[in-house]
């Protein structure tokens, strides 16, 4: 029997699934680094997080919403990995399960599922965990290559936390910097931190892959990073003894992970270029405000969540340029 439908009769081969698995692929380098430095603990967290995210999504769709099952579309997997990337590798196993429940149940499904959530589900869950279990969420195991990690349980602060504490205690940066990892180590990820945030290099590789595959556009990551760089650069110029330099700010903490993988989450970011630039700028700014003057050493998650909440507003304000709305130069 012939089919009748409206044009177009062609559809591109892009799909939600492709995009989601593209993101997963882009996260592989960071995943490898995480397992390399944090060992099996990291692997365990990732597996648990992904597994339970999928499980909860299936559970909710099947028994609560009773809608179609879409766990294969990859979005729950992305959320799971992102959640794992956002916690320390020695987090107790049950906490990550709670985290997965919060991410999927509250962060995503309570809004109506994929595409309807306002906040990045992984971040909702991370902040929830941070508030509920502050100690567990901020004791970072010291990274060391995989061979030793089975017995290694030494914990220490992240570079950002270390600096913040030090500065708070009245030390100068010059003293502190001796104890900080070098730029090379920062780039590779040999420092304390959440699973996925440590290696800037691996994250950038993932980011480039996503740009190449046209999964993300450059606007958000670039504007976030530039804002952070410029903001911290200005402070550093004013007082290099008390403010960390811009490169350090870019390479440590969750800014890379946030800028490349979390702020770019399609569902929770603005739709137009102008809006995306503003969004990125806002994230960079709020991050730096929190880092420099806030109570927490790191503020990327809060910054992204805050900006998520104004996305509907940004979308109202930033419309694409319509064809035929500009006066012609005579």
């Amino acid at each position: 029997m012939l089919t009748i439908s409206g044009s177009p009769h062609l559809h591109g081969d892009n799909s939600t699934k492709k995009i989601m698995y593209g993101v997963v692929t882009a996260m592989l380098p960071a995943m490898v680094v995480a397992i390399w430095y944090f060992g099996l603990g990291a692997l365990e967290i990732i597996v648990l997080s992904v597994g339970f995210s999928l499980f909860f999504e299936w559970l909710i769709q099947k028994y609560l919403i009773k809608g179609p099952l879409t766990i294969t579309d990859g979005s729950a997997m992305v959320t799971g990995i992102l959640l794992a990337f956002n916690v320390p590798s020695n987090l107790p196993w049950w906490m990550i399960i709670i985290g997965a429940l919060v991410a999927i149940g509250i962060g995503k499904m309570s809004f109506g599922g994929l595409g309807k959530n306002i906040f990045n589900p992984a971040l909702v869950s991370r902040v929830f965990l941070l508030v509920s279990f502050p100690v567990a969420m901020t004791s970072w195991p010291k990274p060391s290559p995989i061979t030793k990690t089975l017995v290694d349980t030494i914990t220490g602060p992240t570079p950002l936390g270390f600096v913040k504490e030090g500065l708070g205690a009245g030390k100068t940066l010059a003293e502190l910097s001796q104890h900080l990892p070098g730029y090379g180590q920062q780039l590779m990820g040999q420092m304390g931190g959440s699973l996925g945030e440590v290696s800037a290099l691996a994250l950038i590789i993932g980011g480039i892959y996503m740009l190449w595959k046209k999964i993300i556009t450059w606007e958000i990551p670039v504007s976030v990073l530039v804002t952070v760089f410029v903001f911290s650069g200005i402070l550093w110029q004013i007082d290099p003894l008390h403010y960390t330099n811009p490169v350090f700010n870019l390479l440590t903490g969750g800014i890379m992970l946030g800028a490349i993988f979390m702020a770019t989450d399609m569902v929770t970011s603005p739709m137009t270029r102008g809006g995306q630039l503003l969004f990125g700028f806002g994230i960079g700014l709020i991050t730096m405000l929190i880092r420099v003057w806030g109570a927490y050493p790191e503020g990327v998650s809060f910054a992204i969540l805050l900006m998520n909440s104004v996305v509907p507003l940004i979308n109202k304000g930033f419309k694409p340029k319509r064809f035929g709305t500009v006066k012609m130069a005579a």
Binding site: M1, L2, T3, I4, S5, G6
Partner: protein, 322 residues
């Protein structure tokens, strides 16, 4: 510190007070005089805000009735179909007027192109909207007048009075229908008509709106009206007119004698809520799919269709000659 709190409280309080005063005066100044009867009328209205009266909602309707009552001293051309005579009477009482009683109406779906009667020739894919599909193609069964079965009428109904029957692919009107007319407007093919409910809910109507010539019509749907004119001839009350190869029964004139139902070769005419008549040997009795509490339908044999078609062509020629 206390000082700050105190000052801000003071400022806020003062601000609130000032705006309250301003608001009060503004409200006073701009208050328009409203007839208290409007409120009274609104109170008796069903408050469904369906727009069936032709006005955007119950309040506007209340305003209009009040105005009309004052100016024209009559409410004759106004009707809240949902409330019906009872509500109109109450409104009239408020204004000290009287009304003409009207016969209750109901929405009637004038298409019987079920999957069985008008089998699919193509498959439609796309949004479930009759209004979209109407612009796109004739219909899965090939009838360009028939129901598209995508339920715009169902969506339009605010009373849950019309549902799609998955088996037939046609909408079915139930008792909750208030004759507000929302479905009539929603249907892009003008299939739904508001007709008199009839005594004891008995009514007769032509369940087809196909204006094609008989031969074409029957090709797409075996229960289409082919415009043969038999019903027109048999009707003693002049209730039936045929135009564009389509029969229409005027419900004001129809006396429910059911003669036309019997002569129709394609079973296009429906009788609703009549007692089943004695089954006749050559016609098997089968309940129709389309209505609440329905009457008889007859299975058509293929010979019948053929003969019906022939009749049509002859009678068409007859008609075109005179």
């Amino acid at each position: 510190m206390d000082n700050v709190v105190f000052i801000s409280m003071l400022v806020l309080g003062a601000l609130g007070l000032v705006s309250a005063i301003i608001l009060y005066f503004v409200a006073r100044k701009f208050k328009v005089f409203e007839d208290p009867k409007i409120d009274e009328v609104e109170a008796v209205l069903p408050n469904a805000n369906c727009g069936g009266c032709g006005y955007p909602g119950c309040r506007p309707f209340a305003e209009v009735t009040t105005k009309k009552a004052k100016e024209d001293k009559s409410l004759d051309d106004l009707l809240c179909p949902v409330g019906g005579n009872d509500v109109m009477k109450m409104i009239a009482d408020i204004h000290g007027l009287s009304i003409q009683e009207r016969d209750p109406m109901i929405a009637v779906v004038r298409c019987n192109g079920t999957f069985a009667h008008s089998p699919e020739k193509v498959k439609f894919e796309g949004v479930t909207s009759c209004s979209f599909a109407d612009a796109l193609f004739a219909g899965e069964g090939g009838c360009q007048y028939g129901c598209l079965g995508l339920g715009d009428c169902v969506d339009a109904c605010g009373f849950d009075a019309i549902n799609m029957d998955a088996e037939t692919g046609l909408p079915v009107v139930n008792d909750k229908c208030t004759a507000c007319g929302a479905c009539v407007i929603a249907c892009p093919r003008d299939i739904i008509e508001l007709r008199e409910k009839g005594p004891k809910d008995k009514r007769i109507f032509v369940s087809c709106v196909n204006k094609d010539k008989g031969a074409t019509a029957i090709k797409n749907c075996d229960v289409a009206c082919i415009g043969c004119g038999k019903c027109e001839k048999v009707c003693e009350f002049d209730a039936i007119t045929i135009s564009n190869f389509l029969s229409y029964i005027d419900f004001d004139k129809c006396r429910l004698c059911r003669k036309c139902v019997e002569v129709c070769p394609t079973n296009s005419i429906w009788e609703v809520n009549f007692k089943p008549r004695k089954p006749r040997p050559e016609k098997a009795v089968k309940p129709k799919q389309n209505s609440v509490n329905v009457a008889t339908a007859t299975l058509i044999t293929s010979q019948k269709i053929v003969s019906g078609t022939k009749n049509t062509e002859r009678s068409n020629i007859d008609k075109s000659e005179n």
